[in-house]
């Protein structure tokens, strides 16, 4: 079996940066990513984006070009279009590439698989024409595609960034419907002094809002009671704001309530997690070095808790250096210190942003009739009834209902189901309140599994 010092899963800011540093220090590194090109979500299409796209997407996006170049130039071995579908406790990484599965023994595994958008379980959210805001941005980055007259609904920095980018692309959204509840600004203010250490973020955020408003985009604040209407296709979104019901017709409704760590790898490996009440999500428990409770499994980037692209890149570099130092390579301590200081500075704005953009509580408490598991079409009411029946947690709910058994394997509904159960119990989700993840992490052709001969097979 092939053996490498480090297998990095994910070629986003964290994964690429980790690979660059670790390989520069002399470790053998293999980077596996399901996507056909480096960049991850934030720097998607970074090697191919046209100049015009680059202008619309701005300098934060452009910064990815340098990182991707350094990554390409590094000694790290990079295998795109490679889907990791299992990792054994002995850190044998199994992946699918061009229709065949392979295995590689890793000394250390770095999960740099980033984040997913928080699910938006609203009436009508399964209709064609309803996407996440992240999906809109991916269309722009990788395909130069924009939606005219889209309505953006939700909260968080990405909502405003996307709105501004649509303005810059000449197709301003039909409306921005903000769901941030009243009073959040006040709550966030106590974090402001610390956030000022990273004030460029704050200015950028304010500038985005100004740009969107200056373009004449109608902005509705503190919206609640959101419903997407339509029969076979989204036709309109309606909501309550300022004491009245508003209805806006549009064939494209984009939803966003922040992003949450992708737990697939860390849960697959049974690493310990904690509930993060501030970010309303689980994150893996990590040592100072970035190691999970499973020896040899490390996490960098948004998978550790949401920190953004800059923090992810810094975390990746730091982890790369630390893995090298751990393997006995010489690493200048000042470099580690400098990166750590940079990371601390990046982190200083988070409490402010988290307080300001904490999703409204109702987004995690859908109406009984609303679908939470999109694959198996299980509603929030069914989940609640399963808890009433006595289900002790999400895995029993899954057995009762099939929620989380569809092809997405709970990527979309997992967090929601955990939260719905917890709300019924009147306690925050407990650390193991999550679906047990099993291989294959994504559906794999039976023929491919049969053709695969890992060590130990008959």
């Amino acid at each position: 079996m092939r053996s490498v010092d480090v297998v990095v899963i994910g070629a986003g800011p964290a994964g690429m940066s980790c690979a660059v540093e670790a390989s520069a220090a002399g470790l053998s590194v293999l980077v596996l990513d399901e996507n056909p090109a480096p960049g991850g979500q934030i720097w998607r299409g970074i090697e191919t984006a046209t100049e015009r796209r680059g202008r619309i997407l701005g300098p934060d996006y452009g910064a990815g070009r340098t990182v991707a170049q350094a990554f390409r130039a590094s000694k790290a071995d990079y295998l795109p279009s490679a889907l990791v579908w299992n990792i054994s406790t002995e850190k044998v990484v199994e992946y699918s590439h061009r229709g065949a599965s392979h295995q590689v023994q890793a000394g250390a595994v770095v999960s740099a698989t980033g984040a997913f958008e928080r699910p938006n379980p609203l009436p009508g959210w399964t209709l064609p024409g309803v996407t996440t805001v992240g999906a809109l941005q991916i269309l722009l980055k990788s395909a130069g595609l924009v939606e005219e007259d889209a309505v953006l609904v939700g909260s968080g920095p990405l909502l405003w960034l996307m709105a501004a980018q649509l303005v810059d692309a000449g197709v301003p959204p039909k409306a921005v419907v903000e769901t941030t509840p009243k009073g959040r600004v006040l709550a966030a203010l106590r974090h402001l002094p610390r956030a000022l250490r990273a004030r460029d973020y704050l200015w950028k955020g304010l500038a985005l809002m100004r740009r969107v408003k200056a373009a004449g985009v109608p902005v509705h604040s503190h919206a609640t009671g959101i419903r997407i209407e339509g029969k076979d296709q989204a036709e309109a979104v309606s909501f309550a704001a300022n004491g009245r019901r508003v209805r806006i017709e549009s064939g494209h409704i984009a939803l966003h309530h922040g992003v949450v760590p992708n737990q697939q790898v860390t849960r697959l490996m049974r690493a310990e997690h904690v509930w993060d009440a501030s970010q309303m999500c689980f994150r893996p428990v990590l040592s100072d070095m970035g190691e999970t409770s499973v020896a040899g499994l490390f996490v960098a980037g948004d998978g550790t808790g949401i920190g953004g692209a800059k923090a992810a890149a810094l975390q990746g570099r730091l982890l790369g250096l630390r893995l090298a130092a751990r393997a006995g390579r010489s690493v200048a301590p000042e470099r580690i210190e400098r990166l750590s200081a940079g990371l601390a500075r990046e982190g200083s704005v988070r409490p402010f942003l988290e307080a300001l953009y904490a999703p409204p509580a109702w987004i995690n408490a859908p109406e009984d009739a609303t679908i939470v598991c999109r694959c198996e079409e299980i509603t929030a009411g069914q989940v609640r009834a399963a808890v009433d029946l006595g289900a002790p947690g999400p895995n029993q709910v899954k057995s009762y209902l099939r929620s989380g058994m569809g092809p997405c394997q709970g990527r979309v509904c997992g967090l929601l189901v955990s939260q719905i159960i917890a709300a019924k119990r009147g306690l925050p989700p407990q650390k193991d309140d999550y679906y047990r993840i099993r291989p294959p992490m994504k559906p794999l052709p039976l023929t491919e599994l049969a053709a695969y001969r890992p060590e130990g097979a008959k």
Partner: protein
């Protein structure tokens, strides 16, 4: 309505339910379909409700389509290629005796 912000460049053509769809470099099957204004990609397996792209990053599995005879492929994770035959899906996959979908 979808709109490309740039024009020109190489294109490839594939079909969706028999109808030609033009894709540009970098397009996934999903983005090319979105650009063509096609939003309904399948009917769900339980209730038969219409579904289309949702997350565009391989997480939600809502953009499942049949590509070159293989069903349940993520349109957003598959690069568009010349001559592909893409089809919408109705419910769960069907299988023939010989093991072809």
């Amino acid at each position: 309505m979808p709109k490309r912000i740039e024009t020109g460049g190489a294109t490839v053509t594939f079909t969706f339910d028999g109808r030609p769809v033009t894709a540009i470099a970098g397009d996934s099957v999903a983005s090319a379909l979105a650009a063509a204004g096609i939003t309904r990609l399948r009917d769900s397996v339980v209730s038969g409700a219409p579904r289309g792209i949702h997350c565009m990053m391989g997480a939600c599995f809502d953009c499942l389509v049949e590509i070159d005879g293989i069903p349940n492929r993520q349109a957003c994770m598959t690069l568009a290629a010349e001559g592909m035959t893409v089809r919408a899906q109705q419910g769960a996959v069907s299988v023939s005796e010989g093991g072809r979908a």
